[in-house]
């Protein structure tokens, strides 16, 4: 069952991509392309790229070199789109708050620069897992992308948590999906790129990766299509206090 080219393997590679592409088109039809254009593009294009890699894998006439070319192209496009999605969610969550939007932009740029440097250093120290440069290079690129992606996601969550800002449902769902996927993929690619696991372990890792991606697609479906609980936000009143002191405070403020 847990073998390459088993039924489960085919299902886990193809089904999440088809579902995600379907979600992308559905969101596009609903006009979400105006709010989250990068995410809609990510849903459609990354699925197309992944399905192209699948077809290249199962088609006997496609040479291994060509498979890796297809894989590289998909990886580069998907990585760029992911960073655009993170930027898009950042704008969606923080842009309405003028007092911290600028600080947030500066911090996220600084954090991104540091992560790029860190990822580059880590890639330089990684020993590679294959004698073929195109294969080990792809794994290192994955590791690099996931370091930067996960670092930025963690930064966004911490920044929002520090300021007690509430996320809108769509942005939150997008980030949760990306975050869970990045956590699993970073751990797996780091082990593959640095610890040279056996072929059997690699196969198990690829099942884990595909299953996690499937879960993330379900998370995106849930947050983007299922409406949130219609809670009527109660009026949270500020604490009561002494009227005389309140008046004095107000007077002092008016006199300033």
């Amino acid at each position: 069952m847990l073998q390459a080219h088993s039924i489960l393997w085919h299902y886990l590679w193809v089904a999440p991509d088809l579902l995600f592409m379907l979600l992308g088109f559905f969101l596009w039809r609903r006009g979400m392309g105006r709010i989250f254009p990068a995410f809609v593009a990510f849903a459609i294009l990354s699925s197309v790229g992944d399905l192209a890699a699948y077809l290249a894998d199962i088609t006997p006439s496609v040479s291994p070199a060509n498979f890796w070319r297809v894989f590289w192209a998909g990886l580069v496009v998907e990585s760029l789109l992911k960073f655009l999605v993170i930027g898009e969610v950042f704008s969606q969550v923080f842009a309405p708050y003028a007092s911290i939007a600028r600080l947030g932009k500066k911090l996220v740029s600084g954090c991104g620069t540091l992560l790029v440097l860190l990822a580059a250093v880590m890639a330089a120290f990684s020993r590679g897992d294959s004698k073929f440069g195109v294969v080990s290079g792809a794994h290192l690129l994955e590791q690099t992308v996931f370091i930067i992606e996960l670092g930025l996601i963690v930064f966004l969550f911490l920044f929002a948590a520090y300021f007690h800002l509430s996320w809108d449902r769509l942005s939150f769902g997008i980030m949760i999906g990306l975050g869970v996927s990045a956590c699993e993929h970073l751990a797996v690619w780091a082990i593959i790129a640095n610890a040279s696991p056996s072929e059997h372990v690699r196969t198990l890792f690829s099942f884990l990766g595909m299953a996690t991606y499937h879960l993330c697609v379900f998370i995106w479906f849930y947050y983007l299509l299922v409406p949130g609980k219609a809670t009527v936000k109660p009026k949270i009143s500020l604490p009561e206090n002494n009227l005389a002191v309140w008046n004095r405070e107000l007077e002092r403020l008016l006199q300033q």
Binding site: L150, F157, G179, K233, I236
Partner: protein, 179 residues
């Protein structure tokens, strides 16, 4: 192998953070009715004295250097406590005003928006002021600059009062003990 371990640990910690945020968000949504603001009133006058530059200069003149450093460290610790309280209050006010943003009254929404901006600014300034204080604990002679926090807190007080007044005209609101 060491690199792989570092990445796996980072990924696990990140996953724990993400799951924690998800769970706390779900809990917030389900228990929104029971939100009780835990605003801690702040003695603005005492805070003002603590961050007063002339008070600082006076102590510097009157006390011998080792004594001044000791006293200044005490003052910095006290100021840090005030700044932490003001930052916590600002965070609570962000939550309160975000709930008020859904009001049907445009004046309340505008007041809530102003309160959010002031509270976020204060929280940002509080973080910077705390950083300066921690540096100041090592070099007490560099002085204390928490004026933006104090000013921000006073502005926040005004915004909170306005929102409280709009939300419930019969109940007075304040977030400081005296001024």
């Amino acid at each position: 192998m060491t690199l792989a371990i570092i990445f796996v640990v980072f990924a696990v910690l990140a996953l724990v953070l993400i799951l924690r945020v998800t769970v706390s968000r779900a809990l917030q949504v389900s228990s929104r009715d029971n939100v009780t603001p835990g605003i801690e009133p702040l003695d603005v006058e005492a805070f003002r004295n603590l961050v007063d530059a002339s008070e600082n200069a006076y102590l510097h003149r009157r006390l011998p250097a080792p004594e001044f450093r000791r006293v200044q460290r005490e003052r910095l610790r006290a100021a840090a406590a005030y700044i932490r309280v003001s930052g916590r209050n600002a965070a609570i006010l962000v939550t309160i005003s975000q709930a008020a943003l859904t009001s049907s009254d445009s004046q309340t929404v505008e007041a809530a928006r102003q309160l959010i901006d002031s509270a976020l600014l204060l929280r940002r300034n509080a973080a910077f002021a705390l950083l300066r204080i921690y540096v100041g604990l090592a070099w007490p002679t560099i002085g204390l600059s928490a004026a933006p926090v104090l000013l921000g807190y006073e502005r926040l007080n005004g915004c909170a009062m306005l929102l409280g007044r709009l939300q419930n005209p019969t109940v007075p609101v304040r977030i400081s003990v005296r001024s």
